[in-house]
Symmetry: C2
Subunit: 437 residues, 2 copies
């Protein structure tokens, strides 16, 4: 199966422009989607349950008399879990245990504790850390329903200490995905409503008579869900809006080219817009990966998606050396970075921007997607320059703590009043001065 992947060379003229042209991805804003979502959200805000029922009937063809009947009883989740094949259930539970262990460790390391210190004059300063009260988890219905995604979103919230997790998942024509429901139970979800789309996002953001309002909404969704999340941001917190998934493989030429080919496939099979890029200083190795791709592609069930993704958005880049490959990786700031090389930890020291780094030839991205432990919700579209994997830190927030002693009020009052007068804010100045003897 012949496949034509874009070839770049870092020594070519205007290489950086050519590379950025490959990376460029502009999420199109669809006016029809935006206005439909605006209408649905306003309706859910105004009419609550009644609006949710109307849209669920219209979009999912589920005709319920009240929203309470759309909530799944715990016994339904337990039945889903009991019904799984033992091997699959064990895999899900083992993955959950590893993800939980990693996030427990993260909780200890990432400064999720309150802290304070006392100054010489008795003034106390610090921060109080509190988990969010209630979190909403959006889970897509149908084909894109990934139980691994349920675990990756729910577990950091439970580890952070969130009191209640409300999951919403549409069930078009009433069909639920048992693997997803089992994952909800294992992941620590408290309540599940079988609603979806912008109406579910609106219900979580504003609350209805039956669905409780949450403080933050996380989880992936289609263009309607993404648009709805953007619009309710501010009323509630949201996680990032993900772009197409990406992998960048930096290889020194020592890995089996078939492994590299399959790693590129594993990203490309997600979506025609997914992006797989390979950087290597060894031109001959690039040829061998190309051959492996052509050999392996015909046996892949999702070969059509893979081929479109690789031909449309993929690239092979011949670089001068591994140091240059690391510099280019920083410019790309990929969601997933495989450093498939000897001495991977050494090269990793040169990487500043990546959602997740997979080091060494045994660290295939797919292990990270399911069960290595770290979160698979990662920054896409170069946003790894300024954002982080989903983590425990996304489910806590901080309050500054300021207790000024009487003595402290004397010295600080003088400074504050001087600056407040400089800014023309006299009440600020007087408020400080009144505490001075």
């Amino acid at each position: 199966m012949s496949i034509k992947i874009r070839q770049l060379d870092s020594t070519q003229a205007r290489f950086k422009e050519a590379l950025h042209a490959v990376l460029a991805f502009e999420a199109s804003e669809d006016e029809a989607i935006e206005s439909a979502v605006t209408r649905i959200l306003a309706d859910v805000k105004a009419r609550g349950d009644a609006a949710v029922l109307d849209y669920t009937k219209r979009f999912d063809r589920v005709d319920a008399t009240d929203v309470a009947t759309l909530e799944l009883p715990r016994a339904r989740l337990e039945a889903a879990l009991e019904g799984l094949q033992p091997k699959r259930r064990a895999a899900l539970e083992c993955a959950a245990a590893r993800v939980r262990a990693y996030h427990e460790k993260q909780k200890l390391e990432c400064g999720t504790h309150s802290w304070q210190y006392t100054e010489a004059d008795g003034t106390v300063l610090g921060q109080k850390v509190t988990p969010l009260d209630r979190v909403g988890l959006y889970v897509p219905g149908g084909k894109a329903a990934y139980p691994s995604s349920v675990l990756m979103n729910a577990i950091p919230a439970t580890v952070a200490g969130v009191k209640e997790i409300i999951m919403v998942v549409p069930t078009p024509d009433g069909v639920a995905n048992d693997l997803v429901l089992a994952a909800a139970l294992i992941g620590g979800v408290d309540r599940v409503f079988t609603i979806g789309g912008a109406q579910a996002v609106g219900a979580l953001a504003y609350g209805t008579q039956t669905v409780p309002a949450v403080d933050k909404i996380v989880g992936p969704g289609n263009a309607y869900v993404a648009a709805a999340k953007r619009r309710v941001f501010g009323v509630v917190g949201i996680d990032m809006i993900a772009g197409p998934s990406e992998i960048l493989v930096v290889c020194d030429g020592t890995t089996d080219p078939r492994w590299v080919a399959m790693d590129l496939f594993s990203q490309a099979e997600h979506d025609e817009l997914a992006q797989s890029i390979l950087l290597c200083p060894d031109a001959d190795f690039l040829v061998r990966v190309q051959a492996a791709i052509e050999e392996l592609l015909p046996e892949m069930p999702r070969r059509d998606v893979i081929a479109k993704s690789l031909e449309g958005r993929g690239a092979f880049v011949k670089v001068r050396d591994m140091a240059e490959a690391c510099a280019i990786a920083n410019d790309i700031a990929p969601e997933h970075l495989e450093v498939s090389a000897l001495d991977a930890q050494t090269w990793a020291q040169q990487i500043r921007h990546a959602g997740a780094m997979f080091l060494g030839r045994f660290s295939s991205e797919s292990l990270g997607d399911y069960c290595a432990g770290p979160n698979h919700v990662l920054p896409t579209s170069r946003t790894a320059r300024f954002s982080s994997p989903l983590g425990v830190y996304d489910f806590i927030k901080r309050s500054s703590m300021i207790e000024i002693s009487q003595e402290g009020a004397q010295t600080l009052g003088e400074i504050a009043a001087e600056l407040a007068y400089g800014e023309g804010l006299q009440a600020h100045a007087r408020s400080a001065e009144m505490r001075m003897k």
Copy 2:
């Protein structure tokens, strides 16, 4: 000076609805602003410096031949600092030192270090923490130019280890604010361009021939700046978009009512939309604060703004007791919370949601605005339920680190493949299986 402030009582019928009606604030989306900003951003993206020059001439009446001449040389900042009155300079430097000391402590406590651990089979997991490469700091021109805000935005970035901070500040008619320029120097800003508005946000987000592209834009601005920041979010990171400033004073009746009155003023003087609310179990104390307000208001230079803010958005709430006051405070989730009471630390244990807590009668909010040390950029409009004060953690980001050993690839590969087949992602499964013996 008589002033009519809304009076609520927690025992009244439908109290919660009445309270939420007072809190309700919907940032209006102005179509004219949105479309002007969209046009300006597209123009700056396409034409770079030339567009920035055109808009700066049109909006700030500054006619420059190239953007380089709009950059202030370091000597200009030094001259601004040298030119300050010694007392004001000392206050600014002392405030900066305290803010820096607090954020240094925060850096240690908030988990801004990289970490990793090794499992029994040699698999290494963790996170690498890296400061952002380059940050843009927006500073408003004219009246709303606050040097304290320059310090509060720049210092956490420098403490985080950000390599370069680019400040933009409009100078309408060529007039610069020396206190702001001095604060830039003290705060560790690297370069200053005298540009503003949506064109400055665009220049920072996309980069021009002269202005370097940044990774995140922070700092307050008018409606055009806020709209522009929203639009470039994703290309770069942004801080929160702040709503009107708020103070909630929870008082047990033991504080001088004049202090409380002035604290309410210090919020109200910012803006007619600013919100000042007082909760107290002592009805008589509320009467005394009202009297203090009427006594003190006439002497305030900004009395008209204060009166409009208090009458339009202020409220006095009579509560049953301090425990109920804390519960209501959690519902309000205020930007600034003063617990002006005996045993303030004890009451603070009941507070989950507040941007900053000011504990005890000597902790006036104005001290926190300038020099206590904690950041004065805080979540508004109930977003303290899910977000935090600006901090060192906003200028770092994390990359997951995953190095799977050959042994680890055997056990993890089996789990990952099982789940990948369950999700219909065969390339993921094969990628894991290829690493298995």
